[in-house]
């Protein structure tokens, strides 16, 4: 019997090892939300990110020149916008005061730098150099001065991993800024799309898309992109809205984390899209 088993092992050991490793992989795939697995991941990427942040800076210097040029231009544009917004802000404060509304415009932001990017066509993630020590938690939005970048997925003490907009696992509730119509936006591996939009919804090419207040992850409107194309789905009753993001994951280097206080009541609800 033992000889037979030994014979079988010697003859098929490659297949046994392959099967065993495939089973381990599939088991791990089902354990992604396990707390222990998350802890191991936090330690692993935290340690690695400390090294990669130094390495990334060395290759980053060449891109800083171009970014500075863009930033100067954006600064000038923002300065003009700011002066207009100041005027509107004064008027808004007066009207808010009259209506007795609370001021909710001061949102806490934490600056961070990207230390590494894991680029694949479907699962783009970035690692940033701020973590739980700065109060960052999974679920917080990552933005740049152009707009939405992604959502924090995992944190270690000094580093965090964020899923970017170009990650199939990130689905956002967004709305058309013009007519306040909501929809679910996702990355389908090739493009950002708002799915299952009824044809009766008034979407036009060039409309600005922002995050929706009804989102359980991002309760403030953050610019996401503009409508690039409207495609009719095969059913004939729904549209697929293609969105061009304001921020390109490939080129972004400096980001902000929106330190939003999580809404406990919302989090207790099972409808939270982040807990998929």
């Amino acid at each position: 019997m033992f000889r037979f088993l030994l014979y079988v092992w010697n003859r098929f050991k490659e297949y046994f090892i392959l099967t065993l490793l495939v089973i381990i992989s599939l088991t791990l795939l089902t354990q992604n939300n396990n707390q222990q697995v998350q802890k191991v991941r936090a330690v692993a990427f935290g340690s690695f990110a400390a090294v990669s942040s130094v390495f990334y800076d060395l290759f980053n210097i060449t891109q800083l020149k171009n970014e500075n040029k863009d930033l100067r231009q954006t600064n000038a544009e923002l300065m003009l916008q700011l002066s207009m917004l100041r005027e509107q802000g004064i008027l808004n404060r007066e009207l808010n005061g009259m209506l007795g509304y609370e001021d909710t415009t001061s949102l806490p932001l934490t600056p961070a730098t990207i230390v590494s990017k894991s680029l694949s066509i479907t699962q783009n993630t970035i690692t940033i150099n701020e973590g739980t020590k700065k109060g960052i938690k999974p679920g917080m939005p990552v933005i740049s001065y152009r707009g939405m970048v992604g959502i924090i997925q995992t944190c270690s003490d000094n580093f965090s991993i964020a899923r970017t907009l170009k990650n199939v696992d990130l689905k956002l509730t967004v709305k058309n800024e013009k007519n306040r119509l909501n929809g679910i936006m996702k990355w389908d591996g090739e493009k950002l799309v708002i799915v299952d939009v009824p044809k009766t919804y008034d979407f036009d090419i060039g409309d600005r898309i922002v995050t929706s207040e009804i989102s359980s992850i991002i309760p403030v409107p953050i610019p996401v992109g503009i409508v690039a194309k409207i495609e009719e789905e095969q059913t004939g009753i729904l549209n697929l809205i293609h969105v061009t993001p304001f921020e390109e994951v490939l080129t972004v280097e400096h980001v902000f984390i929106l330190m939003l206080v999580e809404n406990e009541e919302k989090n207790n609800l099972e409808l939270n899209f982040y807990n998929r």
Binding site: L29, L119, E190
Partner: protein, 164 residues
């Protein structure tokens, strides 16, 4: 001593390779398509040391990469395990030299790259609305070709050194 070193080298190689993959490679991406340096390393070890060694190296590399990069844990492990296993078919005493030190290496990388990318894409982009052939072209063929082209360096660099 030599046997121990054989097991130690892939682990030693992993960190610089993944460091380059996550920090330098994004700068050479074309339309979001990047070469997979880890796959090149897995194929190299699989042809050099055999199928079992390649399969285990693929699994280890995949798992460590999943932990570091934020990918779905197990997805890269699964694809790299199978890639290492397939690459092992090109490893034998008689064929090793042929596949390791000639441009055939890039062909092996292309084949395993396709298998690796298809398995990885299966776990990350299951969307029945997408055209399957178009999806395979974008998610599997393009990255595999790019990886295959980069793998030519593995053949050229040692060859030029020998020549000089």
């Amino acid at each position: 001593m030599k046997l121990k070193l054989k097991y130690f080298i892939p682990l030693l190689i992993f960190f610089p390779v993944v460091l380059i993959q996550l920090t330098v490679v994004p700068f050479i991406s074309i339309q979001g398509v990047v070469p997979d340096l880890l796959l090149i390393a897995v194929v190299y070890f699989s042809i050099s040391y055999g199928q079992i060694f390649g399969t285990i190296t693929g699994a280890t590399y995949g798992l460590m990469y999943d932990l570091i990069s934020g990918n779905l844990i197990g997805s890269t492990m699964l694809s790299k395990t199978v890639a290492g296993f397939v690459a092992g078919y090109f490893s034998s005493e008689t064929r090793r030299e042929k596949y390791l030190y000639t441009y055939s290496f890039s062909i092996v990388v292309l084949i395993t790259g396709l298998i690796d990318a298809i398995i990885f894409a299966f776990f990350s982009v299951i969307d029945f609305n997408t055209n399957i052939f178009l999806a395979l072209f974008n998610h599997a063929l393009m990255p595999s070709i790019y990886t295959s082209l980069v793998s030519i360096l593995v053949v050229i660099v040692p060859y030029r050194r020998n020549f000089e």
